[in-house]
Symmetry: C2
Subunit: 156 residues, 2 copies
């Protein structure tokens, strides 16, 4: 627990230093066996990438380093509760433990709409603020049939 | 609408071709004013990147091309309903319209746990299958105070 606090405070320092360099106010790191293997700041604006949240960048860096998309033996430390995009990335990476400091309400007060996305995700696609159109007979199911029957696939 | 169907079928072909090359069974593209500006397959396994879903890769490519994280004048076409990670990426990118074919239940039947993540996102962090630990007094709120008072920040 003391190590958790220390690593979380490192992620918070990354966020603070990032602000000075023009980045968003978020920092994250990935640790394996208690040692930092990847760290990142939010770089959305300067890198022209809406997916460049600190958590996503740290996950991508750790995965590249370990040469696997499976980070189930890693822990994520992040200055703020992950947004739904980052939460999805965490689930897909297999990370089993996340330690965070500020929460979605703190982010909301500083102008970050994590809460809006949390609210929108739970509702029917057709009722969201973004216009979602499903064309069910366009052939989407065929793709999965091909995948199911494909002998050389690598399941993940 | 006819153009929507045609562009969606292009995304489906990307997914089918991707399977042959060892990728996951998902394809997506971004169009601006009816013209394709970015296209991608799911590359999670071969690129060692759990975030390399087709939608995320297409959004990253389009943003880089347009030199902005704001894709509010673009449309996303994707062979399958976006997972929560991709849905978050869509909201952060400002995309206003998403056209898709298969849905989360089709994905579930082929072994992709989009539905699990949708279920987990809506519940209290402390009750999720992943271990979420909040340390509220670690200093996370200070980051936002610094951001709020930082004169040279670029809001996004």
């Amino acid at each position: 627990m003391e190590n958790d606090r220390s690593l979380l405070q490192h992620a918070i320092r990354l966020a603070e230093e990032g602000i000075n360099r023009g980045h968003g106010p978020f920092g994250a790191l990935i640790a394996k066996e208690g040692r930092i293997i990847a760290e990142a700041n939010n770089k959305v604006v300067l890198s022209h990438d809406p997916t460049a949240h600190a958590e996503v960048l740290a996950i991508r860096e750790a995965s590249l380093l370990l040469k696997t998309h499976d980070l189930s033996d890693c822990v994520l430390y992040t200055s703020c509760e992950p947004c739904p995009m980052c939460l999805g990335a965490i689930y897909w990476s297999g990370i089993k433990k996340v330690v965070y400091a500020a929460d979605r309400h703190d982010a909301e007060r500083s102008g970050f709409s994590d809460k809006l996305i949390y609210d929108e995700i739970g509702i029917d696609p057709g009722k969201r603020k973004i216009h979602f159109i499903r064309i069910p007979d366009a052939g989407g199911e065929q793709v999965f049939k091909k995948w199911d029957g494909f002998e050389n696939k690598i399941p993940y």
